[in-house]
Amino acid sequence: MPKHDTPLLDELEKGPWPSFVTDLKRQAEKKPECFDILGQLELSFRDKITHWKHGGIVGVFGYGGGIVGRYSDVPDRFPGVAHFHTVRLNQPSSKFYSAAKLRDICDLWEKYGSGMTNMHGSTGDLVLLGTTTPNLEPLFYDLTHNLNQDLGGSGSNLRTPECCLGRARCEWGCYDTQNLCHSLTMHYQDEIHRPAFPYKFKFKFSGCPNDCVAAIARSDFAVIGTWRDDIRIDQAAVKGYIKGEFIPNAGAHSGKDWGKFDIKAEVLDLCPTGCMWMEGDSLKIDNSECTRCMHCLNVMPRALRPGLKQGATICVGAKAPILDGAQFATMTVPFIEINPDTEFAEVIEVIEKIWDWWMEVGKNRERVGETIMRIGLPTFLKVMEITPVPQHVKEPRSNPYVFWQEDEVEGGFERDVVEFRKRNAQ
């Protein structure tokens, strides 16, 4: 495969940020199809339009997810990328790897693919970018037999679940995100690999309300760690921050002189509920007023820690704008203990109630958040058998159009209009 001139892409070899063009050129020395990737991309840069086509039926046998078909619309000029399908590998929870494992994946992809990857795709998969239809089955065989590794989800499947690094290297993980993510991934292999739903369904697991995997913005089922007792305070460390012995916000603001740390301005006054105050040099918190926003913990990680009665809040129905507009996930289960001893049966029960309802009433290509929007949160809460609480809304409704049910109204809906007219003439 010949090298193509790429004057436009060459401009992207300049500058301090790592250049994917330089990387592609280096890879092309071993995998010449990368010259055709560069060639076709250069053509797109010149034409200001994509040169890829979608293909719908490629996959490994029996799986309805994990492979996305892709073809060049200029295959004669770039035969190395005529077929260029995507392979999604289910990443290990929170994306720790051993070099040995990665090298195995690299060797596999050198054998069967283009040598290019995405580390990682938007949903979290390790994405292998560009292979041919005949290579798919042999690749899958080697993947499952030699690498003990499976594909992720695509299409109307449960998508590859994703979690933050949680307790592996963070002091705020209020439940074991990796364990829950991995366990549910294993529990729902069928749903990940074969379509089951009206549309895609995503799980994301964040250990605390900082929500580093954007669960509340991006997942149909967001499990976000929280606690329901008191923030743990180390008063000596609070004093340390005030005296300037510790750098506030864990050093996140070290590049600019923002002046001496001011606990009132930087912590107490920024608390959204105003539930913190100083008594002498002791920090006090009215925990019953706290909404666990994390700001004070973020600013003084040495002094403040989440409470000990930990669990998670479950929010349902986030999605990107297509089609009705973007939605954040709606708070549905205020607090749930995440219990590995029951193999997370409590979480599974919530998931399957959602699925049973959505599979029945969801329209084709309708995310569960849109179904809830269309049918209404009150109905959804009833289906979920969840007692409505003020926490489910930001404020009560402002219109009076309540959908009363017949059995809620004294005497029901049936009335005799003849009797009515005897008392109230037309």
Binding site: G55, G56, I57, G62, S154, P195, Y199, N364
Partner: protein, 77 residues
């Protein structure tokens, strides 16, 4: 009385082979047995794929079913 799994599969395959639509959503098969749950229908349809009688067609974001050979695609052009 819900159909047996084999009866349900036969109805699904018939719809996929002879129905006016070549590509169908899983919901399109719900009518094959109104008494079956969505999960039963989904499992029956996925079984037919495992048996090679139907294929998946995916837009990347949505997945549909088609009888073997009926899906419209680059590979079938």
């Amino acid at each position: 009385m819900a159909l047996s799994k084999d009866e349900l599969k036969a109805k699904i395959l018939e719809k996929a082979l002879t129905g006016p639509k070549a590509q169908l959503y899983v919901k399109d098969f719900y009518a094959c047995d109104p008494e079956a749950g969505p999960r039963d229908v989904k499992n029956a349809a996925n079984d037919l794929v495992k048996e090679g009688k139907m294929t998946f067609w995916s837009s990347g974001s949505t997945t549909m079913y088609a009888a073997q050979g009926r899906a419209k695609d680059e590979e079938n052009r």
